[in-house]
Amino acid sequence: MIIKQKLDLNYTLSFGKMTRWVSGLLEGKAIALKCSQCEKSSFPPQRICDCSSSKNEWFELSGKANILVKTSGVDGDFAIAKFEGSDNSAVVRLKGFKIDEMNGKISSCDPSKPSLNLIPIKSGNE
């Protein structure tokens, strides 16, 4: 015997300290955290720095990024990219990249789905 059941879940999500990061994604801005102790910056932001400090400040990156490695296929196009001014890297969703394009910039996203999207930097697009 089989019974079909559907579960509808309507979450109301708040992001607390990370609100700056999420609102940045919606606007197409790369908002990072800089450690007040060692000055290392993280994007995506890390609440605790690798140096163990919890003191940090928000700041805006240029939004430009270099792609380190890409993957594509039926699951979509993604990459690990290093944003200018950040000391770590980020997994990003790629939008409209050709195979040999390795430079991009952050773009805004669907307000209901805060995601980290990268579009290629082309002449006139910079």
Partner: protein, 387 residues
Amino acid sequence: MTFVTGYNLTQFNRRKDGSSFRDWVSETFESSLETSSLDRRDIDTLIVSSESDFFTLQLNPASVIADDLGLFNIEALRVEGGGASGQLAVHAGVKSILSGASKHVAIIGFDPSASQLPSETIKKLYSYSFDAWTDGMNGVSATALYALSIQIFMSETGLNEYDLANLTINNRENACLNPGAHLKINHSQDEILNSTIISSPYRRLHCSPLSDGAASIILSHKNYIPSKRKTAPEVIGIGSANDRVNLGARLEMGEFNSKTISMKNACKMADIKPSEIGLAELYDAYAGAEFQAIKALGLSSNFLKDFRNRRFHKEGEMPINLSGGLMGQGAPVGATGVGQTATCSMLLEGEYHDELQINNIPKYALADTHGGIGTTSATSILESNIN
């Protein structure tokens, strides 16, 4: 101090027989109990492992399972750590025995990862098992994350697509000899190299399947081992460690560094070196993840040469994933870590499937599992007790 007196795995597959995960749990527990020669009233702790209530549609599963199994007035709890849930549950059991809190612990892993939800829904839920506020919202699949990591690993080590194909062939060949395995298929290299690209370089045949199933072990304190179970293997070392949840936050994005620490901790407790391990069950969620694990765990000083020389093959010096691993045996998430430990125990006691049981039983076996992308690692070392 802690001995595996009972063990069992149910069939791993996509169930079409109308059975439920609660049936599989009952089936595996009764079989483990029989192996242990204990009575259900001897069990003083029940630890269950399941990755997600979304899969089972049952919150607090330990309570209903304890009831289904006729276990009352005992401690019953659930351990969860993504893909590592099962091995972390084993660790919780070992710690309970070592602390003196328990004499006999039943550990049961399960998940209906195949039959209860559409595979697209399961994939979406899995993406929330990484950082939901970054990777989850981004809709990055597990395959894409593993694909990014393995590309870095391949460029640093020389691992190539033929190695990925050959490992896939090996694990599924082993699965063909495991009656309980999900994917009993003999692939050709061409079939693998031409299968659909899910996330480059990973193709469909490099991925482990979504499976239904359950596995269990019973751990007993050395002072309470049943007289019929004098050859039960011992859990001599456990270790666990984590890494930054975001792949991009790691210094070495191609390496599973949490495994190196997890293994170091397990070896320290066991007082052995990685080179003394004689067989291993590793977490091959994708073909490349097994190579990343072998290297991180220190099971070889030149993993690529050893692989190409068939050292990890079923007839090799140090067989890996005789069960077929996740790629061949299958992957009901909560059951995998428990199943690995059960498999190692059977092999160390000479009780594994006829065509996969090795004759020269090694002294030590390793079971290693992880959640996320090598984010939460859990490692167990077992010692044979047959001589």
